[in-house]
Symmetry: C2
Subunit: 524 residues, 2 copies
């Protein structure tokens, strides 16, 4: 097996070769982990509690709180140490939907598929009103609607047409795509962020559009509209959700707003544009929670047992918060359940790690990686100044999972090319499960970036795309049904093995050079 590993490692081009000779894999441990992870898995049960039982897990919502409490308790039950909620800083208001009903009543009855935009208010009971098309490119254009919108349902001309399903919703990486990723020789440029020319025509137009949207929003609120309809992205009944207001306790008031399925939105729009009278009724109730504005992460540990190494920490994580239109199964109950399962597997095989293993289930990832950023700032350092704390030197590696339900096909090195041969060796025992690719390339958009930003080795795995980008990511269809059991078992097993190897390795994972702190953000 080792011979084969050597061969595999030597085939890597563009990656540092120094680790080749020393990188070994404990095949007996891998076998134990595989047996537990593939044949005695609890990952689907965990995912069931995080999705179906807890419900939507918008940041600081009761649903997230249910999931967090369940996770803390479940990790304890499995024997983890220090299982707790750890505050990471102030987030803002919690919010949830408590009634959601809207229908066309004229020219005929039809209940629509629509979801309140996050952090928007309700309608204060059942309202009925005509639908009015508002067209305004400038604030002056709004004048003609003055005094005419009270209690009305407002719609805008999106000029959109719905896409048809010319491609399969579900996809997995092809060998060619993986080969291409593996062949990448340079990470996209890191370092200081690109400077935007704030006076470019595009940026001027963008600022104008944002200002106009804000002006329209304020006008509609002042005019006391009953409800705003926005066209949700998606088709065939799948509707993607966003937020319609800030979660900040100082957020400005907005009017109630529904993200409406493309089919329902465009039907209403076509009727109104053709001069047909359309009347709707709606009853939306949303609730804000302001008792505790603090944000929390779930953390739990398997303490290290080696006198010299136990102060060093391996972290794994994924974000537990979700959007509100469904139960955030692939974004990211999947990653959370897999990480919990990886911990469970290691406990189940009675692993006594040299280094300490810590799981973190982040919150408020969806609003800007807040949970992980807050954690990193508290423990490791400030990416704005690159002032580092002592713990920074003790964090061995952070592994993240947040690209849906697809199985692991490999790992992004995030530019840390020295880690390549190590991971290549660690992946070798999982070739039969489809995980082989090490790319020096980056991926973004999730919590490993918070670690990367302070010079820590933070990695996200390469996962098959499945229907993440087409159907589930932030949509009303991100439910338990979307979870692929075999894929989640595979991911749990591989991650447990990576954690095992990281813990037992002689040295910590090699780091890349510390990033340059970005310049102060330009004024906007």
């Amino acid at each position: 097996m080792k011979l084969k590993l050597l061969y595999t490692c030597m085939a890597i081009t563009g990656l540092a070769g120094s680790a080749i000779a020393q990188e070994t894999v404990d095949q007996a441990a891998v076998q134990k982990i595989r047996e537990e992870g593939l044949n005695h898995s609890k990952v689907m049960e965990t995912a069931f509690y995080l999705t179906d039982v807890a419900g939507p897990r918008l940041s600081n919502s009761p649903g997230l709180k249910r999931a967090q409490d369940w996770a803390v308790n479940q990790l304890k039950t499995w024997g983890m140490a220090n299982s707790k909620l750890e505050p990471w800083g102030k987030f803002g208001k919690g919010w949830e939907v408590q009634k959601n009903y809207a229908a066309i009543t004229v020219p005929y009855y039809h209940a629509i598929i629509a979801i309140p935009k996050a952090w928007t208010p309700g309608t204060n009971g059942l309202i009925k009103g005509d639908v009015v098309l508002v067209k305004a490119d400038t604030t002056t254009d709004l004048d003609k609607y003055k005094g005419k919108l009270a209690g009305k349902i407002v719609i805008f001309d999106t000029q959109a047409k719905l896409a048809s399903g010319t491609k399969a919703d579900l996809s997995r990486y092809t060998d060619e795509e993986l080969d291409k990723m593996a062949a990448a020789t340079m990470a996209p440029a890191g370092g200081p962020r690109r400077q935007f020319d704030m006076n470019s025509p595009q940026m001027v137009a963008r600022r104008k559009m944002i200002a106009m949207r804000a002006a329209i929003g304020k006008f509609l609120l002042d005019e006391k509209v009953g409800l705003i309809l926005a066209q949700g992205r998606g088709n065939y009944g799948t509707t993607f959700t966003t937020n319609g207001a800030s979660y900040a306790d100082t957020a400005k008031a907005v009017a109630p707003e529904l993200e409406t399925s493309g089919e329902d939105y465009l039907r209403i729009l076509r009727l109104v544009k053709a001069g047909q009278k359309v009347t709707m009724e709606a009853d939306i109730k949303t609730e804000f929670f302001t008792n505790d504005m603090q944000g929390y992460n779930v953390v739990a540990e398997i303490p290290g047992t080696d006198k010299k190494l136990k102060d060093q920490v391996i972290m794994i994580g994924g974000h537990l918060d979700s959007w509100h239109g469904a139960t955030g199964a692939t974004d990211n109950a999947a990653g959370s359940a897999v990480m919990m399962e990886a911990m469970r597997i290691l406990k189940a095989i009675n692993f006594k790690p040299k280094r300490t293993i810590r799981i973190a289930l982040w919150s408020s990832e969806e609003q800007g990686l807040f949970g992980s950023r807050g954690y990193v700032a508290a423990h490791f350092g400030d990416p704005r100044t690159m002032q580092l704390k002592p713990e920074q030197a003790k964090l061995d590696a952070y592994y993240n999972l947040d690209n849906g339900t697809g199985k692991i096909r490999g790992i992004y090195l995030q530019g840390d090319s020295a880690a390549g041969p190590i991971f290549k060796a660690w992946l070798a025992p999982f070739k039969d499960l489809g995980a082989t690719t090490v790319t020096v390339g980056n991926t973004g958009g999730t919590d490993h970036q918070s670690f990367d930003a302070v010079g820590l080795p933070g990695f996200q795995f390469i996962q098959d795309g499945m229907d993440y980008n087409t159907r589930t990511h932030h949509s009303n269809q991100d439910t338990y049904d979307r979870l692929s059991e075999d894929d989640l078992k595979q991911a749990s097993t591989i991650i447990a093995s990576f954690v095992y190897n990281t813990s037992e390795r002689k040295d910590m994972i090699p780091r890349k050079a510390l990033p340059t702190p970005p310049p102060a953000a330009p004024a906007r």
Copy 2:
């Protein structure tokens, strides 16, 4: 062009060759029809009125009535003669949804995607109740639920898992598929229907299942359940609808029943099966219409002008009725709009046909081709006895369109192989629009069968499948957005040209032998 046509015709194998020499196409007329149909189309406007404006068009519903009245009037406006509603016989009750709201309220709030089954009653206001899983393989199994279901929401264990989108929703015929259809040399057996062995194990099991379902339905009604949840076929928010009771005025009472999206149904089912308490609220209102139980078809004509031929009639049609979950855009506002457009095109080019051209927009196709069968029985003959009426000899051909929004790729001969060379010649000018294939094969499931059953040449065109079978056919997503403008223009143009050619042809379309009347149906 003619040389090319001859060449094309001679390439047909297995079709009678007698028509080859004589079949010519008036290229100037084709050009006029193409110009009007492709560049001055009104088909999307027509479709808009039949879908968005009229709404769902369930048989005998107010929505169907709106569409019928609009069509009669529009055909008149375009200058058609004898535009009217023609009764075809007794159908039964009309029905529509007037309120549709259902949500989980415990363990958290979530409004579900669900549609009342057609012809089921409402909940008589807002109800709230716990969800109860009913498991019963025998009527004895029902005993344990006695006295426990009043006001409850009932769910069954469907053991289903949702499919993922591994194939594209949208498809068009490939050249290979069309070649295969063209190469078919035998129509599937027609004649008397296959005799079922009513005592086969399968039929016994089937009768038992149907009887058990009826027994459960009666039990639930007697127990005064609040609402039944059924799992609707479909995924990602698309839900297919059915009926939950008979439309007959003598129909037995049933309990309210919702066809629930797979995602919502399975979420509730998983929770209940795991012993989690689930409470729901629902407010369903449906209305029955019993003032006029008669069924009607829309008919209109362009009268023939040739003294000898004007008594001969070419008919075109499609069914106007739909299911109730959406606006039946592809099933079958598409076919109805195309047929209306074909009539409009022929009027617009000021065509004075030799024979009479008649459009019929059927109703109650979805319940068993009732509109077209009633029409055929009234005008042409009785397929049970093969007693024919004089009009049967005068009906030249019937062309039907009812396979969604896909463009025409050719035509099914329905075993009438003598018509093959004729249609091949007529399709030749539309090769650039993708319509080339003549297959001797059959297709079923729609109104041309009513004509075929009494020995009349009744044809359905081959249409690209698009998302008909995957997303739209009887679903809550069969909306105007699904209509493909270019495809509908193409179909209207080709059908107008077929009608033109049929009208001007020296002889009527050759017929196949009269079918053998089927034996009396076996007792069930």
